[in-house]
Symmetry: C2
DNA sequence: TTGTATGCGTTATCAT
DNA sequence: ATGATAACGCATACAA
């Protein structure tokens, strides 16, 4: 490997002092064009690259933003993350794009049992944190103590107030979904989600559902509310339950695509036709929503944009020292595909 | 934020020298149990965390491994990555698990146009590199010059020799897939992939396909070889072509699940029944393979393990300084789901 | 405009 | 067994 040169080598080669090189590098204006030229020539020739660790030590800023995501000890990403965030890559991509513009890099939360998140953050002197997923409350308290720019994605719990937040407008999205079914002429519309009490996201989406029904003066029917895991398997369960109990349903609003796909698969595997026998609408617009047959009608949120906005919140706090916490909401939109259709007279 | 203490503060508090603290921290044996105790007491009290940037500067090792993945300038992950590597998270997860065990962290390739990969690697003084995806040849040359432990995943091209490599046994996987269809009694078996000439992966898989057919003394029929993009849309195209040309087919071996799902969707959207009208087998075992209806029969590779092995290759070179390049191959296995069935007399 | 000197938090060498 | 001290590469306050 070509030996790494330091700022000192560049200085010598250019016949100037280390300070001048530093000035040139950082665009400090107090340097003549001529020496600037000399310095950059030397930099070229030596293929000099600044050592960011040294810079970090000296400046106190690591230019590193940490991304925390749930990884289990066995090396598996928890199913929760994968199933609720199959757009993990998109989010990261949005983050990375914006951060790199400001010369920040993304550090992934390599966790092992010997070390806590806040230890990790402290050791690496991270300039900012992005939390993907839901964690035990203590994690948030720990991180809060660090007092570092932090953004949470899709969390509404009370502790979220201490951080920047980015979410979709869950209530509106769910309203849109329900409205779509209503507009198609459906009356008996179910709602499938995780336990509504335990998650604010589910609650918001439930509210959107209720709001739409209320507009049509349709009573909420407790029997059409299905609470289980927000996973593919949860979707299977809901479908099984509906079929077993012979619950009459025109349409079903599901809080996540992955769960909706579970519902759809169970129906299809049992000989039912979607959307003829049941109109299903999801939430998220994961990639698979367009791959399944029929394509899944759903509520789309721009995840790349979500990542970009998160990055911008971090940058903004970093550059301006403005510490007030912001909450950004992204407006979702309806994507109509094949899993919903007009109300027919047939019943399932 | 609680002020960050340094090793000096710890030393003062414990009434010893910085050197002793360093010894205690790094488990250097030349320290008495008593002072060790004192030191750790001080560390506790101050909530001291070592500054990894300083350590890196002093030791010359960053304890950072870079992951490079294709991210476009607009912030989108290239479709190629997403569609061929929907298991990105799993891979990362395997990586992260092993690396964290050795106190390495993962740095994501925040790229912007002002800086090249090798610049980035040099600035951050990365200890190792993982390359996910296929890149222009010049990238490999650049990285090779850096002479840093590097592992490539799923690349066979000639330049791969200069790096550690991890792949599935593509030929065997494809052989397994074809064998499965053969065992089901199918004779007219097609093969769908990207252009075989341009990608060694496709070539390997094609060889596996041919090998299985040869065992059964079945002639390769040029008309049953479909070359197009290894994407969902490519799958759509293949299916459209088959249907339009009324190509007689019992089964179809597809080089990627995502493509197989495209084929399946096109058939289904046009009223055909899978597997009755056509047995389809994919490759990869992405999560969607089990979500679609019917479930997709496919060839599974343990992606988490792949990530773990990659990490181990890096660690090994780092710890032993052994520079000879290793190539690890993972044996895939057949996963039978609903998209394949016994040969019937009906034709499509 | 340019240079000197110091500090950032570690590790490592060399004394003691 | 412990301590002083010199790097490591850079930024920066202060001098010139």
């Amino acid at each position: 490997m070509a030996k790494k040169y330091s700022i000192k080598d560049v200085a010598e080669r250019a016949g100037v002092s280390k300070a001048s090189v530093s000035y040139a590098l950082n665009g400090v204006k107090k340097i003549s064009e001529k020496t600037r030229q000399k310095i950059f020539k030397a930099i070229e020739e030596l293929e000099y690259e600044p050592n960011l660790a040294a810079r970090s030590l000296s400046s106190g800023k690591s230019k590193l933003v940490g991304v925390i995501l749930p990884i289990t000890e066995t090396g598996d990403v928890t199913s929760d993350l994968l199933e609720k965030n199959p757009f993990f890559s998109e989010f990261i991509s949005g983050l990375s794009y914006v951060l790199s513009q400001y010369d920040y890099d993304l550090l992934l939360s390599g966790m092992n049992s010997n070390i806590t998140y806040s230890n990790w953050i402290a050791r690496r002197r991270l300039d900012g944190i992005i939390l993907l997923g839901i964690y035990p409350k203590t994690i948030y308290e720990e991180i809060k103590k660090l007092n570092i720019p932090t953004v949470l994605s899709d969390v509404y719990e009370e502790y979220a107030q201490d951080f920047h937040c980015v979410h979709v407008d869950d209530e509106y999205g769910s309203y849109l979904a329900t409205r779509h079914l209503l507009d198609l002429g459906h009356k008996r519309i179910g709602f499938a989600s995780g336990t509504i009490k335990s998650s604010k996201v589910n609650l918001k989406r439930f509210n959107g559902y209720k709001k739409a029904l209320r507009e049509e003066k349709i009573e909420i029917d407790e029997n059409l509310i299905f609470e289980t895991n927000v996973t593919f398997e949860g979707g299977l369960d809901v479908a099984e339950y509906i079929l077993e109990k012979k619950i009459q349903l025109d349409g079903l609003v599901v809080v996540a695509d992955i769960m909706a796909i579970g519902v759809m698969k169970y129906f299809q595997d049992n000989g039912y036709i979607i959307p003829n026998d049941l109109s299903i609408i999801g939430f998220d617009d994961i990639r698979y929503a367009r791959y399944c047959s029929p394509g899944l009608t759903t509520i789309n949120q721009d995840v790349v944009k979500k990542g970009m906005l998160s990055a911008e919140l971090i940058i903004k706090e970093l550059e301006t020292k403005e510490t007030s916490k912001e909450s950004i909401v992204i407006t979702p939109k309806l994507i109509v595909r094949g899993s919903t259709t007009n109300k027919k007279e047939e019943k399932i």
